[in-house]
């Protein structure tokens, strides 16, 4: 590594079955870009990669390898020449990879054929900084990879499957949880107003800003929190909880965002706008099952 950028960490699908010990699931923020990355490289689905937030990573390759890049467009270059993303590249010793700042989208995925050679912790390669599991990549760090075969294949994703990462997004919400804690008019304004993404957005969650939503109660008895849960704290500004969320918490929730839409949300930045619309549980489950068919 020559420069680590703002936040560049190794991730995979995350660690599961440990929420009862207070350990979060962690894992890549945008599963769509991650799944495609490994498909391009013909890697097994859970092969680790580097998740780069906003850009700034610079590294030199010290052996032949095949890599791919997916996610946000951040002026990716190979030896100072523009490199295509959603595509594989064959590299040789001394090649220089560089990422600028993401113009559209927020998270970039960089994978290598065969994955990086890193020991798993608690069953996963996912770095969780708040749990002291792994660290941010920085200048001087080295990541080993196992597969240095130079097989010359070149695969790129069909244009129609490349997401456009618009600045505005409608998130589908599953109700049926604690919406009884909110008056009808509060739920109505939740679905009718636009929300700005605040600067407090990270791997734990995205804080939103708009007219506050009032809840009839201050808090609930602490309980487990699902991926995508929309918490309404006392100030009435929703927080959508994501991969590094706390395992239990005591704020009321108005609903939960469909995971596919959480992946899209992960590509938004502070200042972007979103709204919400409801989706039925049956519909939501069918959409998730279809999404999971992407995973070989």
């Amino acid at each position: 590594m020559i420069a680590g950028g703002l936040l560049s960490i190794v991730e995979d699908f995350g660690r599961f079955g440990l929420n009862d010990k207070g350990i979060t699931n962690s894992g890549v923020m945008d599963e769509y870009a991650y799944i495609i990355l490994n498909k391009l490289l013909r890697n097994p689905p859970n092969t680790n990669c580097i998740e780069i937030t906003l850009g700034g990573l610079k590294l030199e390759v010290d052996d032949t390898c095949a890599i791919a890049v997916s996610g946000a467009d951040a002026n990716f270059s190979i030896n100072s020449k523009k490199g295509d993303i959603w595509k594989t590249h064959n590299l040789k010793k001394g090649d220089l990879l560089e990422f600028g700042f993401a113009k559209k989208g927020a998270r970039i995925y960089l994978g290598v054929k065969g994955g990086f050679d890193i020991k798993q912790e608690l069953g996963s390669n996912s770095v969780t900084i708040k749990e002291n599991i792994g660290t941010n990549l920085k200048s001087g760090d080295k990541l080993k990879f196992l597969d240095n075969s130079f097989d010359g294949y070149n695969i790129c994703l069909k244009k129609e499957f490349i997401p456009s990462y618009e600045d505005n997004l409608t998130l589908r919400v599953i109700l049926g949880y604690q919406e009884n804690y909110f008056d009808e008019e509060q739920i109505e304004s939740f679905f009718n107003q636009a929300y700005k993404i605040s600067s407090q957005n990270n791997r734990m969650g995205y804080r939103l800003e708009s007219k506050p939503i009032k809840c009839k109660i201050d808090g609930i008895i602490s309980e487990g929190i699902s991926f995508g849960a929309i918490q309404i704290p006392k100030d009435g500004q929703p927080i959508i909880l994501l991969k590094d969320r706390q395992t239990i918490g005591g704020y009321p929730k108005i609903g939960s965002v469909l995971p596919i839409d959480c992946f899209k949300l992960s590509q938004l930045k502070a200042g972007n706008f979103i709204n919400f619309k409801p989706i039925s549980l049956e519909d939501a489950q069918a959409k998730m099952l279809k999404f999971k068919q992407l995973i070989p």
């Binding site: 929420n19 009862d20 912790e121 602490s222 309980e223 489950q285």
Partner: protein
């Protein structure tokens, strides 16, 4: 009461009660332990808390209808009195003002001597209600009401690893250095969270915990840091 609620596209929360009591916590714990023992591949995460269990299930194994049927078959609504109490775990604590920054504050609020506070705290048996906030951070109840003390108004930015605290009628040990607002009364040399121990967390939901006062020498000899 037993209530299932949709918590997300692939999770359901089971509410056993709407208030915290010893009986309700026991009901949650017994069901948590029996669900965990099933080792069912379709159950991804099982997260117990005071009155509820959150189940993250795999949509490739269960639809919502199927998971409810499955839970109905596997949830017991009465605590099984024949079932043994949880595993008894002893945790050595160096109780002293040197590491127990709030012993003096509790002493003033409770109008008890520090010796009495230590005696009251270490003679109680605690149950692990839930684990969260930090990996291995176990919420223990219940602290004797004579020494139950509200959280500090302004949290400390750094609480040393192993610190034992009180917040209202609950007690907990900080598994790693962390900011926090609990009243600190002592410290253990044990690793409460360690990637190398079975289950990773020294304590599990349902365990019974007893604190054993130790001297400064014993604390240091076993690797304790001041």
């Amino acid at each position: 009461m037993l209530e299932y609620k949709v918590a997300s596209v692939d999770s359901v929360i089971i509410y056993f009660a709407n208030f915290i009591s010893k009986e309700n916590v026991k009901l949650v714990q017994q069901n948590y332990i029996s669900l965990k023992k099933l080792n069912n591949k379709g159950l991804i995460d099982i997260t117990p808390s005071y009155t509820s269990i959150l189940i993250h299930y795999d949509l490739q194994y269960f639809s919502y209808k199927k998971i409810i049927e499955f839970l109905d078959e596997n949830i017991a609504l009465k605590t099984d009195v024949t079932q043994e109490e949880g595993r008894l775990v002893e945790v050595p604590i160096y109780y002293d003002e040197e590491v127990g920054f709030d012993l003096q504050r509790i002493s003033q609020l409770a109008k008890l001597s520090i010796k009495d506070i230590i005696e009251l705290h270490s003679s109680t048996k605690y149950s692990v209600y839930t684990i969260g906030f930090l990996p291995g951070f176990a919420y223990l109840g219940e602290v004797d009401e004579k020494i139950a003390t509200p959280r500090l108004e302004s949290p400390r930015s750094k609480i040393p690893k192993g610190s034992l605290g009180i917040a209202d009628n609950q007690s907990a040990i900080y598994p790693v250095e962390s900011p926090g607002g609990w009243n600190i009364i002592g410290r253990t040399y044990l690793d409460m969270f360690d990637k190398n121990i079975e289950g990773f967390s020294y304590l599990s939901v349902g365990d019974i915990v007893k604190f054993k006062p130790i001297t400064r020498d014993e604390y240091i000899k076993n690797g304790g840091v001041i």
